[in-house]
Point group: C2
Chain length 335, copies 2
């Protein structure tokens, strides 16, 4: 999947700032890809990008209209269809993170076929994949792993990419989820592949590279979240990580959406990750801990991170508050 | 997926006995479901079932034509299509383990639609699934786990079902692979579901039941096979096993199709399986070891199994040579 940029970000018609989370992520990490936003109402949540209609966007050179909202049910609103068709007729590709496939909407599929543009359904995978082999690949790989889902694995991986590039590393973000794919313009939604191909998809996403190059692979789920552990396990074995970064959120008292499942200890995830990663990586090592400390005040957060750092002998940081340069320093020292 | 029996087993046109392995499994475990075989040449490998054409099979009450061969590439031979259409027109359902979907062959899809029969594409999953929750379910569950793929997990699980039923247990085989599904007439091909739903599919396959009932879940892959470990992990967490049986094949010097991957130690798989299973099962315990000892002579096999049994304090048997009653006795004692 290779999504041409620049993008026009469709923000739809919801005034809820949470509904444009995906679009906000794209704009935050790749502002240079985002030429404008398309809002259907004055009250629609905004990213403070230039408001732009389809025609203007086309004149400005936009290559892809991104449906960057997460509306209830993941269904495409009927009244969006004419706008999407208009964009297609002006030569734009369409990328969507909705459950409902663009290719299943006859008017959209027909227009795209006629105009020869691409429809990117990010939640669905049509690529021909191979099963994994576990064969050693050259180059360096880092994988983020978590105590749970939604603890900042994508953010941390992107922050590491930026900080490593700033220090002169040849480092590339490898996207495994739909927001990550829209940010990077490429990737594989690993939770959407057929189960047999989880590790194979990960291997194809982070292929052999030069010995000095780093592939920074976005983690998914958790080895100890019973809903998604299969995805996490296949990702770990396929990623063949040299370096691991643990992601966690302070204050979560049970696994996401699973009130009967206690949160695992950080140490349990670390021991298990290293032990399992050894199947395909000769010497996997943790290089840092990234924590979402948003429920703590500054003094509490620093004291918490300090304690973690001492306990595990690793840099511990909140990437949003304090950046990830401490982790990059550790990578410089260790590799 | 519920596949109506009795079956007519299509054996096709290959003289290679290995090509009819799936059909042989169905006939071995569920002879009462198999009314006849359909061979296209005199040299086609045989199961010694009555040879039967489509018309006769229909007159005898066959409900499903099973394409029980594994031909190269998994593609449907052109000259089979008229036979399949004939079966459909006489009211039979069609079940296929081929990669190529029945529903993708226009003549077959059209005929099935017209006649109102079902097309079962076992390698593909169309069911609406939920993600797993890990919530505790009543009833007893047993899962077979292996050192690798193709080490006898399906055979062992089916042998346990038969031996437990013979001893008066209320025990049911839960199929997770295509041959198992054809044998049982129901199940979910767990390696064909979208990655996010591995554990959820397993939970729906082995739902809450009476406290004395046993669900015997067919294992897949291996936690230490880098190609399929994601499937195995999701299956383990979804199965919530009370009892585990380890399956192994003597004499394999590397993981299947992966000459660079050494076979794991039995002990490593057992320790890892119990440790990971504890996420969703309060007290998972191994109750036996099932080994394919076909490369050993009788004396060697018995001595090998004896040594294993002493080492791990568990019954160790070759299900094909010596049955699984020792494992059933252990289950009786332990639960």
């Amino acid at each position: 999947m290779n999504i041409p940029s620049p993008y026009l970000l469709m923000l739809g018609d919801s005034s809820d700032p949470l509904s444009i989370k995906t679009a906000r992520g794209i704009h935050y990490w790749r502002p240079e890809k985002c030429l404008g936003q398309l809002r259907l109402n004055e009250s629609t949540a905004s990213l403070s990008l230039p408001d732009m209609d389809i025609k203007t966007a086309s004149d400005m050179g936009v290559k892809t209209l991104v449906l960057g909202t997460a509306n209830a049910g993941g269904v495409l609103a009927e009244h969006w269809i004419p706008l999407i068709v208009e964009a297609i007729e002006l030569g734009m590709n369409i990328a969507s993170g909705l459950h409902q496939k663009l290719t299943d909407v006859p008017a959209i599929a027909h227009a795209a076929n006629l105009r020869g543009v691409s429809l990117f359904d990010l939640r669905h995978n049509n690529e021909q994949l191979d099963v994994g082999s576990g064969a050693k690949r050259s180059g360096r790989r880092l994988l983020t792993v978590g105590t749970d889902c939604s603890v900042g694995k994508m953010f941390t991986t992107l922050a590491l990419e930026k900080a490593m590039q700033d220090k002169g590393f040849d480092a590339t973000f490898c996207a495994t989820g739909q927001t990550g794919i829209l940010i990077q313009g490429s990737g594989i939604a690993i939770d959407a592949v057929v189960a047999d191909f989880i590790s194979g998809a990960t291997e194809s996403l982070s292929p052999e590279c030069q010995p000095h190059q780093w592939q920074l692979i976005e983690g998914q789920g958790s080895l100890l979240n019973p809903a998604f552990s299969g995805v996490t396990m296949g990702l770990l074995h396929g990623a063949q990580p040299d370096a691991l970064v643990l992601c966690h959120e302070v204050g979560r008292d049970h696994m996401r959406h699973l009130p009967h499942m206690a949160m695992p200890e950080l140490e349990d995830i670390m021991v298990l990750s290293v032990s399992l990663a050894k199947l395909t990586s000769s010497n996997p090592q943790f290089v840092g801990i990234a924590v979402n400390t948003s429920v703590l005040d500054d003094a509490e957060a620093l004291s918490y991170l300090n304690a973690l750092s001492k306990q595990y002998g690793l840099p511990a940081t909140d990437p949003v508050r304090y950046g990830v340069s401490s982790i990059v320093t550790r990578i410089e020292q260790q590799f």
